[in-house]
Amino acid sequence: MASEVDAPFYGESTWFCCGNAWGPCGGTGHGACGTCNSGSLQCAWPNTSDACYAITRPDRCGRTGLLRWGCGHTFYITSRCNNARVTVRIADCGPQTDLFCGERDCCSNGLCARDRLMDLTPAAFSRIASLSAGKIPVLISSTA
């Protein structure tokens, strides 16, 4: 069992749209916190509340130590592929970790991470990777 507790830990990050949007994202709304916008540096976290956790269920992937953080909590996300970093705040619940349990993603430098634990807005994800990459391995930290 992986226990993240309060130390930085590795996971996969993908991206999602929220707020006013075009295309299939058009009806997504402003997220669980009511503040989410694709153009802001924000994220979704799988453990923002009991109701959120009941949907995302990272524990089903053996990720039992994810701390409860609420709307506005700051994370520092660092790409394992290029060391680029972005600072984001929680604005939604997600990703749905248990849909892709055990999924692993690696960079060309050989560094990897598994399980989807972080969803970034397009503005945030595009500061550290190309949106066309879809998902990347990252280091997730609550301390700068």
Binding site: A84, E103, P122, S130
Partner: protein, 199 residues
């Protein structure tokens, strides 16, 4: 080149009318290079000034005129070095009025965004596979039906983190997937770039 130096250079070059090789000013503007630049932390609560989203409402030479989904207006300057994606890496002439986009670059003093990268019509959807046809896959996306078109020579599948392959036969109805694709404007259809299967 620091972010401040880069911003100063682009302001001088673009606003001064000089030819700009690329928004990153020096060297490659391939995404992996552009995103490796050290960028200053911003207030996460505020919109990122170096990012834009919306739909193209006009094209004037190298300038994309974009109306944001929040009705804000953006002018996005595409240079010869801007990385453009529309289902696959492509050129600036792929941009069309009506396309949705995300763009990242450098906000210049006149309000123009000098683009490092532009993603046209890109979508990233977590879906449930509901049916599979010869050249089409149907998805459920949060209760909405999405039609995914297989594009010969482009569409790839990733099964359980293995390298991408063109063989889609292992995709299964009833399983979840992540879809990277290009939206066909004003429809519920996307051309499929990569399907990440949880099967």
């Amino acid at each position: 080149m620091t972010d401040i130096d880069r911003r100063r250079f682009l302001n001088t070059a673009v606003l001064g009318g000089a030819t700009v090789v690329g928004a990153t000013a020096l060297g490659s503007v391939a995404p992996e290079a552009a995103f490796a630049d050290v960028q200053p932390d911003l207030d996460p609560s505020a919109p990122d000034p170096d990012f834009a989203e919306g739909r193209i409402t006009g094209i004037n030479g190298s300038m994309l005129l974009v109306t944001g989904s929040d009705k804000s207006l953006h002018r996005i300057y595409v240079t010869s070095g801007t990385s453009i994606w529309k289902l696959r890496p492509t050129g600036a002439d792929a941009a069309q009025v009506g396309d949705g986009l995300y763009a990242r670059g450098v906000l210049l003093d006149d309000g123009t965004l000098a683009a490092d990268a532009v993603w046209l019509n890109i979508v990233n959807l977590t879906v449930l596979i509901t049916s599979i046809g010869k050249d089409v896959i149907h998805f459920d996306h949060h209760g909405d039906r999405v039609v995914g078109h297989v594009v010969l020579g482009t569409t790839a599948a990733v099964y359980n983190s293995t390298p991408p392959v063109s063989d889609l036969t292992q995709l299964k109805v009833g399983y979840h997937a992540q879809v990277i694709g290009a939206w066909r404007p004003d429809t519920n259809e996307v051309d499929l770039a990569t399907v990440y299967s949880a099967a």
